[in-house]
């Protein structure tokens, strides 16, 4: 099992969700987050004066998937979230040791 953590542009959330649903993933968690990457935010103009927006709003999607599905999930997110412009986000993948479905007590991939 792997956890896929994708940070994407907020308006891309729906497309990513649709793409992952098509693959048959069983759940995801979404958080509104802010942050910066290599550009360190950007400068905006308000009433003729500049100000720095150092933390840019993004959406973080977390999904735990079976190993078999991992490559497809990554590709799906990549494709759905891509605009080709700066700020498209990143995908992180990390191992998951155990999953528990609290209601039934199931363990492992059955609980995902």
């Amino acid at each position: 099992m792997k956890k896929v953590e994708a940070i994407v542009k907020p308006f891309k959330l729906d497309e990513v969700k649709e793409a992952l649903n098509k693959l048959g993933i069983t759940g995801m968690t979404v958080t509104e987050v802010k942050g910066f990457g290599r550009q360190k935010g950007h400068v905006e103009l308000y009433r003729g004066a500049e100000y720095e927006v150092s933390f840019i709003p993004k959406v973080k999607i977390e999904a735990v998937v079976a190993d078999a599905l991992l490559t497809k999930v990554i590709e799906a997110i990549e494709e759905a979230a891509k605009t080709g412009k700066i700020g498209d986000g990143k995908i992180f993948v990390m191992p998951v040791d155990e999953v528990v479905r609290i209601r039934t007590g199931e363990r492992g991939e059955a609980a995902v």
């Binding site: 802010k34 103009l45 308000y46 009433r47 003729g48 004066a49 500049e50 100000y51």
Partner: protein, 563 residues
Amino acid sequence: MKKIFRRYGGVVVALALVAGLATAALSEEKPAPVQSQITSAATQAAPAVIPAPAATPAPEAAPAPAEPVPDPTGANTGTAADVVGATSGSPTADDLENLGKTEPLALKLADTVGHNRIAINIVWTLVAGFLVMFMQAGFAMAETGFTRAKNAGHTMAMNFMVYALGMLGYWVMGFALQMGGVGSVATLGGCTTLNHEFTISLLGHDFGLFGLKGFFLSGGTYDASVFTLFLFQMVFMDTTATIPTGAMAERWTFKSFVVYALFVSAVIYPLYANWVWGGGWLSQLGKNFGLGHGHVDFAGSSVVHLTGGVIAVAGAWVLGPRLGKFNKDGSANAIPGHHIPMAIVGCFILAFGWFGFNAGSTLAGTDLRIGVVAVNTMLASAASAFSAMMYMWFRYGKPDVSMIANGFLAGLVAITAPCAFVTAPVAVFIGAIAGLLLCVAIFFVERTLKIDDPVGAISVHGVNGAWGVLALGLFADGTYGDGLNGVPGTVKGLFYGDTSQFIAQAIGTATNIVVIFAISYVFFKVLDKVIPMRVDPELEVEGLDMAEVAVKAYPDFNIKSVH
């Protein structure tokens, strides 16, 4: 001791206030005439249709003129005399006297017509006043929207309480100082009990300085017309009072704000308003010195907006910029407002209220010039929003909506004085210039004067208030204002043949800037010594809401992480 004060102090202050006011309200004594070498004369300044008795300072021996009788129910306000001069075909005073002898019923009907005529004017003035009152909501939303979320409760509280505090200060003495000597407001059927102006003699002319009738709306001014006039003038004063709260937002202690709200309504505003609208010396520049019709300001570009803008300069200067506004090298940082939609709705409410502000300033629904006034008002605002948009678009690449909203208001401010005196193309021109002036002024205030004005109040109201009264002196087209301020003929600007009108406008503008700035600056300096005006830096960083007004505007949101 401190504990006792905390527990009972508020109650004691409230009781003392009630006791004092009750004493004042119940005493039916007529105010004693001013004892001094300075003459104190009854004046008649308003453009009265009915000729008022000539005002000569009565010598000691002469019998005092009969004191006018107030009309609390309004049942006797508006008579056949108010029909005279209503239209070119309406009966003259002679007609009424001569024909009335043979047609007594017609005379009685004329009385009813006169009453109805005044009733229309009073209803119009009241409804317009209600519209202007609602502008307070517009100011509250515009100012709060253009400032940060962490201070939203505080900014709203100032805008809210300036209405209540200002009204009380104005009721206690502001109204009396402003209108106590106006002598007569013909369109409202009289107000003749407001007949006591304090004047000084200079260069052989009387200079009216302030009125002395109508304190607590008592002392012989318990009168339907006077109360109507109070409502209308009160909401105008409140507009002035709330302008500086925008320029001084996000860093002002509420305690010192309370003192300010009372002082501006009781003293600063009424003085200049008396000089222009209450029969004071600026309105008499025409009669006394042949300068046009004196300083003419139809609805308050100078009286209301320039005054508010000048107080805002003094206040924001004494208070200093918000933390983080200016860098060490003097360059300015943007501190974006937290709720632009709220600010935009506020601007729309202001524009809606402005119809009452300008068209209502005829004080007469029977004066059909209101159609021209209302259209000029909206045209100017459209032109100024457009010119501000284009300026920002060309200069900075985007049509910054907060600047467009400011530009929209700038046009309304500028057209406020000339709205009754100019043609439609001129109204559009005045508005277009106002939008550009606004943009230039915002950057001048911020980058050159280094004054931090979060909402642009100084540029909207101060700069464009001055432009408005000067524009009247340039473009008044001579179709309106016959007999205004006791000067025969209509109001003509410099481009329509009367240079002296422009001079009067310039004198009025300069007087406002010098006098209002001096009074406000000294007031704020002294206030700052007695009750510090600036909040603690830690509170300013944290936000004023909890510390100053005990409420967070948005308790469910973690607003510190958002800008």
